[in-house]
Symmetry: C2
Subunit: 481 residues, 2 copies
């Protein structure tokens, strides 16, 4: 890397890269050792970070040491520390040493996986690891690559849901939508608890959010199948065509699990596509005791879950499976001359650009492969179990405290709770706790009631972190109206 | 990182992470030193890579050393080496030491940038660096963030084009499309040379490819503005509504440059959105002598270019700018309860999830910041200039050789050429050259003629690599019919 050619700029030499690389590795090792002590939520106001940055880029290069020092000085104070063991907000985005290093190998190799030909290893490792995961989770065999189905890595469950919607539309249109645009009669269904990405997908697809029916949920906040059936029947009676149903295994708000099998039967009666979004909860199916999460999945046309949430793999890594790849390919394939190649034309190679929205793609299977191999299946099961056990313990503490109550029963690693007192301002409680910096939680609203929402899922979260969080919550809860 | 808690799996300790991290850094440094000597195109058939992988994942963890050894043994032989200085195919995906390390910091921090609140530094550094780049390239000031416009990092130009199309549709529909779906009368325009991602975007958006007019190009393969005007007029006369025009600065096939200013005048007459796709060529505007590439850009509603192609920043990193962010936000915003927060509600913070298809997002601004600071503006200009000079030299060699000819004039760093002889089978020539492994090129078809397409853009490509490639092309060309 160190030759200077006339006219070419100087690049870091191999030795300089080594030294700079070691420095980054050391800095990250230190960061992970001290992240538990940093305020989880940063104490900055909009504009603060930019105000410290120079208005113009440098004309001549700066030393790598200066840049890394500025990460510490300018960037870290403005971060939410998602890798802190005291991060309990939203969903986890847990990562791990092998995942970080797998992503580093990917960045260093810098290959493109858009076609099989543009890096066969990138495509084949992805197909292989997604087949492994299907077995690890006990997914139906038809999601594996040997038949008509198969898996692909998407950036997020949002994109997976969009791709599922597009495949469903293509099939429902008799494979005319890609060319002729949307049929006018399509209607999609989800529950009032389904992730907002489906609304966004309906907008993107040009179907419009008004054609998305959000059916009611039952007491467990799972989709009410009778309500679904009734909504589909009513639409069909009006001359509309139910074409897509999204079921959720682990809703964003409370981790409720929709009755996939029953939903699948209703969807099938209308010939509608069934997509199952198991973004966070899906990882729990690693453990036999949680494999009930897959009930009914044999009826699904597509399925996704996110190793970048709860499987030690850093963002982005959503695993998206289809039972039949033809509708997906029909929706997303375009073949310009400059991408034609012999491998694609034989039909023996998978070209993953036809399985996703963008054309280019990184080598994301590496980090998944590193994680699965480095931990092994058993440790990954233990990882999930440990978090569920911690959440269960928290649940018991809340149940035993007469100031607090569970608003819904705990589901897996998620606990939603609130103070019992009628006038309690839990929004103020949450703001106080988060501003304090020792932990971060987010919230949800259940039947109009503001609730604290604590999700146990970070890589290094242990009993002591959950217990310390609970003591802080109790103390703050006692001191605030 | 090394505490073992009951029930929690063992993670690599900080020291183990350091050692494994150094090993990856060393391995990558070695890889980049030897990549010039590896066959650029791998010698594998579909299925070969998978056949060497175990059918089931390991039950217990394996050592990091074993995993890294398998990268070398099982993965590298099946890679196309995009970072080889002998890679001249498609477009470059050049990367650099600071970019690789910036991405490593991003992976290690593992933060989410979906909202300002979920990591303010992630959002603000992105806005800041995109403003820097607008200045570095001499883009119109209205693309900068201080007014109504602003920039955002997308994964690819495909996604940027889709977002532009969705914003245009939202504006054209009177802000009803997100809710009510596509109006029935919209028509979009591009040229026959526009990237296939626009066709794909028309399908995704449910408008249908049949509503995309591919207007003719002139002798330089740039969009024929009279043909565009005529097509728009004809559609309007039929009661359709021209709402979107995509101009390209540097087409995929030949790097032709559409007349953006003239196209913008025609688009404006119909109230249509003008998107400019400068995916690769855009980086050349760093140099004053190539800034003609921005001519007419003051008429554009949106613009994108890819630092992950020709600006030393590894994939994915497309910079997408809008002159007015309102239509984009209108198209892509959804606000579920669990994402509500004070910073967003003040309107002072940017929430980039509303500027893109997915919800989650990585901290991609870090690698761009690292690259710009590590090289400085002047070295980045030299980098682009050097490649253009090499392509220019290759052009002169081809022009001086009576067996070969340029099929179209060189544009920047791209040379399209073929053998002069009427019966010459240049497809066989390309296959021979690529199979040989000493270089990789791709092809295009120009007016029915198969052409070799050599793009100079890899980080370490120097005169000797281009000259060696040319000698091999000449020799193979002489030995084949």
């Amino acid at each position: 890397m160190d030759e200077r050619q006339p006219g070419s700029p100087r690049h870091l030499s191999a030795d300089e890269f080594r030294r700079a690389g070691y420095a980054v590795i050391d800095w990250l090792a230190d960061y992970h050792e001290r992240v538990a002590d940093l305020p989880v939520m940063p104490r900055v106001a909009p504009g603060d970070v930019r105000a410290a940055l120079p208005p113009a880029p440098p004309v001549t290069g700066e030393s790598f040491a200066a840049i890394l020092a500025d990460v510490e000085r300018l960037i870290v104070p403005g971060l939410m520390h998602w890798q802190s063991p005291n991060f309990f907000g939203y969903f986890p985005a847990n990562t791990s040493p092998p995942s970080i290093l797998g992503d580093l190998v990917s960045a260093g190799l810098g290959v493109q996986g858009m076609l099989w030909q543009t890096s066969p290893s990138c495509t084949e490792l992805e197909t292989h690891v997604l087949d492994w995961l299907a077995d690890m989770l006990g997914l139906p065999a038809r999601f594996k690559s040997h038949g008509r189905g198969g898996g692909v890595i998407q950036d997020s469950a949002s994109s997976a849901t969009l791709c599922a919607l597009l495949a469903a539309r293509e099939r429902a249109s008799g494979y005319h939508a890609r060319e002729q645009g949307n049929p006018g009669d399509l209607v999609a269904y989800c529950s009032s608890e389904t992730h907002s990405s489906l609304e966004k997908a309906m907008s993107i697809a040009g179907l419009g959010r008004a054609r998305l029916r959000k059916v009611a949920t039952d007491a467990r906040r799972a989709m009410d199948v009778d309500a679904l059936e009734e909504a589909m029947r009513a639409d069909a009676a009006r001359g509309l065509r139910p074409f897509f149903v999204c079921a959720t295994v682990g809703t964003t708000s409370t981790l409720a699990v929709d009755p996939v099998g029953a939903i699948g039967r209703v969807a099938a009666a209308h010939g509608a596509w069934l997509h199952v979004d198991a973004a966070m909860a899906g990882s729990a199916a690693l453990c036999p005791e949680f494999r009930y999460l897959n009930d009914g999945l044999e009826r699904a046309d597509s399925y996704c879950f996110n190793p970048h949430k709860w499987l030690l793999t850093n963002f982005d890594c959503d695993c998206f499976y289809v039972a039949d790849r033809e509708p997906l390919l029909a929706a997303l394939t375009v073949l310009p001359e400059y991408l034609r190649n012999a491998a694609s034309e034989t039909g023996e190679a998978i070209d993953y650009r036809d399985w996703q929205i963008p054309l280019g793609r990184r080598f994301r299977a590496l980090k998944l492969w590193f994680v699965i191999r480095s931990y092994g299946v058993r440790a990954l099961q233990d990882f999930v179990r440990h978090h569920v056990a911690l959440a269960s313990e928290l649940e018991s503490w809340i149940a035993a405290d007469d100031r607090f109550e569970l608003v819904v029963p705990r589901s897996l690693n998620l606990v939603c709770f609130a103070r019992r007192a009628a006038g309690a301002d839990d929004r103020a409680l949450l703001d106080r706790l988060n501003a304090d910096g020792h932990l971060f939680m987010s919230h949800t609203v259940i039947d109009g009631r503001f609730c604290l929402r604590l999700c146990v899922g970070q890589t290094h979260t242990t009993r002591e972190h959950v217990e310390a969080a609970w003591q802080r919550i109790r103390a703050a809860g006692a001191s605030l109206p």
